[in-house]
């Protein structure tokens, strides 16, 4: 039987760009170029490797976002995913983590899945809670923050490296997995992959396709509210000295003046 893998990905503002908030204190997506979140590339990579090691598997990439978010799907398809689902709806603007997990869970159920694979966090919100929330909603095991992952005979196994210990985890499918940037270098799309991606199916769903009411998501449905956002004042220029043989001693003097020594 075919192994159905759904990879959740996010289209995020480029972290090397000048990121800002829009007037409604949501992330300004118009001002900065977007791309597939780097941490999700690792999820796509692990999904592809698991699929390659399975007898029969299908990799579906799923994203929520405006029209531009298709770029993230396109990248994942060009890496080798089989098909894509784009959830797009004007009412989704301003959706928080709880709402995002609702939309993802409904879309994952509708798509059909044996395993969901996500990145450890997005590179914009950086909360790292969506995989756990999706697992809670789907009522399946969470096997998260894996630096190594494998799936065999309906069982997912992996290694989770915590502060105090490294843990070996195991759960039966269906399950929600998230992987870290240590799980393995993500492949670059080949020219052939990029050409093939253009022909792969991208389905578009809106909230009505997922039986979600507008007020359950977006700014209206959000459980949290950003009340103020202030740009951090530029640091006042520090003291910079050139080492002429006494650089270490000068630095020690500075540290002592700041009471660190």
């Amino acid at each position: 039987m075919s192994l159905r893998i759904v990879v959740t990905v996010k289209y995020v503002p480029d972290a090397t760009g000048d990121r800002h908030f829009a007037d409604d204190l949501t992330v300004d997506r118009d001002d900065v170029d977007g791309l597939l979140s780097e941490l999700d590339e690792y999820a796509v990579e692990q999904a592809l490797q698991i699929a390659e090691n399975a007898d029969d598997a299908e990799v579906t990439v799923l994203t929520i976002g405006p029209e531009d978010a298709k770029d993230a799907l396109r990248k994942a398809l060009s890496m080798g995913a089989d098909k894509a689902i784009h959830v797009e709806d004007d009412d989704l603007h301003g959706t928080d983590a709880i709402g995002t997990s609702l939309v993802l869970a409904k879309a994952i159920e509708k798509a059909g899945y044996d395993v969901v694979i996500s990145g450890m966090a997005s590179t914009d919100g950086t909360m790292g809670v969506v995989p756990a929330l999706v697992a809670e909603r789907l009522g399946v095991p969470q096997v998260t923050l894996l630096s190594e992952v494998s799936i065999e005979d309906g069982t997912v196994k992996g290694r989770r490296d915590g502060d105090a210990a490294s843990e070996q985890l195991e759960a039966s499918l269906p399950a929600v997995v998230s992987v870290t940037d240590q799980s393995g270098e993500a492949r670059y799309p080949s020219f052939k992959g990029i050409m093939a991606a253009k022909k792969k199916p991208v389905e578009s769903w809106d909230l009505s396709d997922l039986d979600i009411e507008a007020e359950e998501v977006g700014l209206e449905g959000a459980f949290t509210k950003v009340e103020a956002a202030a740009e951090r004042p530029a640091r006042t220029a520090g003291t910079i000295v050139k080492d002429e043989g006494e650089g270490g001693k000068q630095l020690a003097e500075f540290l002592a003046s700041q009471k660190f020594i």
Partner: protein, 320 residues
Amino acid sequence: MAEVLVYVDHVDGAVRKPTLELLTLARRVGEPVALAVGNGAADTAAALAEHGAVKVLTHDASEYGEYLVVPKVDALQAAYEAVSPAAVLVPSSAEGKEIAARLALRIGSGVITDAIDLEAGDEGPVATQSVFAASFTTKSRVIKGTPVITVKPNSAAVEAAPAAGAVEALSVSFSEKATGTKITGRTARESTGRPELTEAAIVVSGGRGVNGAENFSVIEALADSLGAAVGASRAAVDAGWYPHTNQVGQTGKSVSPQLYIANGISGAIQHRAGMQTSKTIVAVNKDAEAPIFDLVDYGVVGDLFDVVPQLTEEIKTRKG
């Protein structure tokens, strides 16, 4: 005064520093009631009482050590139902954030993660967060349900504030899903004797300029002279010179110590995302044009292999 539920991060009964910091913040918004679960839970009571917990709820069962996250969510939910708190605070570890989020979903609340400050507001606690690689500071609130907020290490000072700390055994019944993810093995991280990276007051980091695993001893010697944790940039980690557990940056750990010393680190956005909220920033780099110098309070343009050993010696001399 309203009660505030604080989830305790501890290792076999030894309470970790971020939880003690959390108690300081909890007292601003209510009376802290602590929840400690797992092996040694009851042993946490004295430290928690010393730092302001009016009550300590405890529960131990083998499930906490044998299965991932969900048994702890079940316990936190049981405590939430027993206490009916005005807010729930959890340390912002990877696991803490997962526990907080799942609880929030279950109780119909919002969740805020990685707060760096917390204050009481007219409509509930207001959390300060640092976002977009610390280029913005936001103030946020949970506007539905009971606020569930996770707080980053080093967000508040640990303050003694002796309270009753009466220990009560909590009754927890595990959900059907609690045993979904088995922990089949555990290898404790070998202790380096240095403070944990995210909790440390001082972090000394090395990057590409360290130029080899063996040269990290220079960075470690400086760290040890200051009682600091050792960090590494992604370049150093990807090159295999230092373990990923010590990586500071967007795909590593985010730190905000009192003092951050970057050695041989250029200061790419990826790295800055993980250290820019440090209170005092110092850099040593050969390249006067390195972007890290835009962030520093004090910078030395020079060879780290000259500057760092001299600094280490000088610190040792001054400390006598």
